[in-house]
């Protein structure tokens, strides 16, 4: 792979970005063909953190395989677990208790905020602004503390199981979440003052990495990337799961399709997540946190597909069952994989600095792409 470095017959320069590069946030490897500073070609090389999760899942039981999925998109591990649990429940036809559904949705939205916080800090750092990273981590740290109290982990939670959630909430949970909402609301204006309104930042983001609505659909983009181009693709609205159909929130879309639009979508989505949590946090019903299920789960023969909205977009869990205790075949349709495929189209003809700005707003998590 590395022998490709050099110049082409036309005099274009071929360079590598990654697999170890601060702007790729993980082990993504891009081989870029440059004419001067202008990008001619971007070719992603994947697989540096490929663990063959799909193959591993074929030999794990329906209770075990969920733990592996936390390691895919580690910033939305709750939502990955949620999607897998829902897919297994669909096969078993289990009714999940209301209390568990409330807890799941609150946890999902907290995860979404934490993930967007990290994206916001890291993306600003890619563009050369170091301070926002610390602002973002101040709030994110509060969420990881809340998660740690209830789930015992800060990153790979493994809290959601088929039938509900694994354990009862920590007694401080509601109090902690409410004080987090207070903190978040008092700090949110800082984000806009620091970054959003900054004219240097806006100049680097506006009209950069434009993705049209048609292209976004054709490339299979989902999540904030597609919503920045005006595609209505929020799974929570289109195919609601658990109690998403009963909560009130807006699907954020922008029409410009540039990096700045994607930035605004994520920023506003955090506020919508706060709105969802506020509606639910005081109304968690009493009752069981888990439905009664058998110790060894067996899915009936057939195929089950479940999609959920992670922080990065649409995650699809496709289980093919032969009636046994392990899945015959499992496929994860990861949002990052499809979003990455649009990168070359977005940055062709732009300058190399714009690649970093565009890639930052794709919010790539490499283990999610490689699986």
């Amino acid at each position: 792979m590395f022998e490709e470095i050099g110049t082409t017959a036309e005099g274009d320069l071929i360079i590598n970005v990654g697999p170890q590069h601060p702007a790729t946030h993980g082990v993504l490897h891009l081989v870029i063909t440059l004419n001067g500073e202008t990008i001619r070609k971007v070719e992603p090389h994947l697989g540096y953190i490929h663990r063959s999760i799909e193959k591993m899942c074929e030999s794990l039981s329906y209770r075990q395989f969920i733990y592996v999925t936390s390691r895919m998109d580690y910033l939305s591990s709750h939502i990955n677990n949620h999607g897998c649990a829902l897919c297994v429940e669909k096969g078993l036809q289990v009714e999940v208790p209301q209390r568990a559904q409330f807890i799941r949705v609150i946890m999902d939205e907290l995860t979404r905020i934490a993930s967007h916080e990290l994206w916001w800090g890291a993306m600003a750092m890619d563009l050369g602004a170091f301070t926002p990273f610390f602002h973002a981590f101040r709030e994110r740290e509060t969420i990881t503390d809340i998660m740690e109290k209830t789930c015992g982990a800060r990153l790979t939670m493994n809290y959601m199981v088929p039938g509900g959630v694994m354990a009862e909430l920590h007694p401080d949970f509601q109090k902690d979440v409410k004080s987090f909402i207070q903190l978040y609301k008092s700090k949110f204006e800082e984000y806009n003052e620091l970054v959003t309104g900054n004219i240097i930042f806006q100049n680097r983001m506006k009209s950069v990495g434009i993705l049209s609505k048609e292209d976004a659909i054709s490339y299979g983009c989902t999540g904030p990337v597609a919503r920045g181009s005006g595609v209505h693709c929020d799974i929570r609205k289109l195919y609601p799961y658990d109690i998403y159909s009963t909560v009130v929130f807006d699907e954020i879309t922008e029409t410009a399709g540039d990096s700045y639009a994607r930035y605004l979508v994520r920023l506003r989505e955090m506020q919508q997540s706060i709105r969802i949590i506020e509606q639910l946090i005081d109304n968690i019903p009493a009752g069981d946190f888990q439905a009664k299920t058998k110790a060894v789960l067996k899915l009936p023969k057939g195929e089950f597909y479940q999609r959920v909205e992670t922080a990065r977009g649409e995650l699809g869990v496709y289980i093919v069952s032969e009636g046994g205790t392990t899945p015959y075949r499992i496929k994860f349709r990861s949002p990052g994989f499809s979003n990455l495929s649009a990168l070359e189209h977005m940055v062709k003809g732009l300058k190399i600095g714009d690649l970093i700005a565009s890639m930052g707003t794709l919010d790539l998590v490499i283990p999610d792409i490689d699986r």
């Binding site: 669909k90 054709s218 299979g220 693709c233 289109l238 089950f304 597909y305 699809g316 075949r329 495929s341």
Partner: protein
Amino acid sequence: MTNDELKIKFADLLPTVSFEEGGEWLNLFVSPEEFKSFVSQLRSTPGLDFDYLFCLTNVDWKTHFTMVYHFTSTIHRHNIVVKVKLDRNNPEIETVSDIWRTAEMLEREVYDLFGVKFLHHPDLRRLIMPDDWEGWPLRKDYEDPVNMIKL
């Protein structure tokens, strides 16, 4: 469109198509020879407008392969699953990357892990595994004594 309306429409487009219901979505079975001309009509026929290919994968059934394409329409919001049976010893199918751009990378992934050849694909190379890797890891008969831990 409801599943019954879709069925009538599909039978018009391709008389040899067979259906399977009972799952969440309508399943269609198409032969590999008729596949390409059929799916390009899915994209272009008004009223169908399947513009979004949200999942593309393959299942190894030990006797044959089944390519599985999940389509949805962002306009009409109906979903279908198109399945194509392939010969396991010589799996070949036409690419759809010229109709849905997302298929370019997804097909490379399927080629990499299953060894399915996509005809007329612009750039069919290994994507995830190293270029010099031998074998197709997601096939059921794949053996790797070094990297695979049997549970």
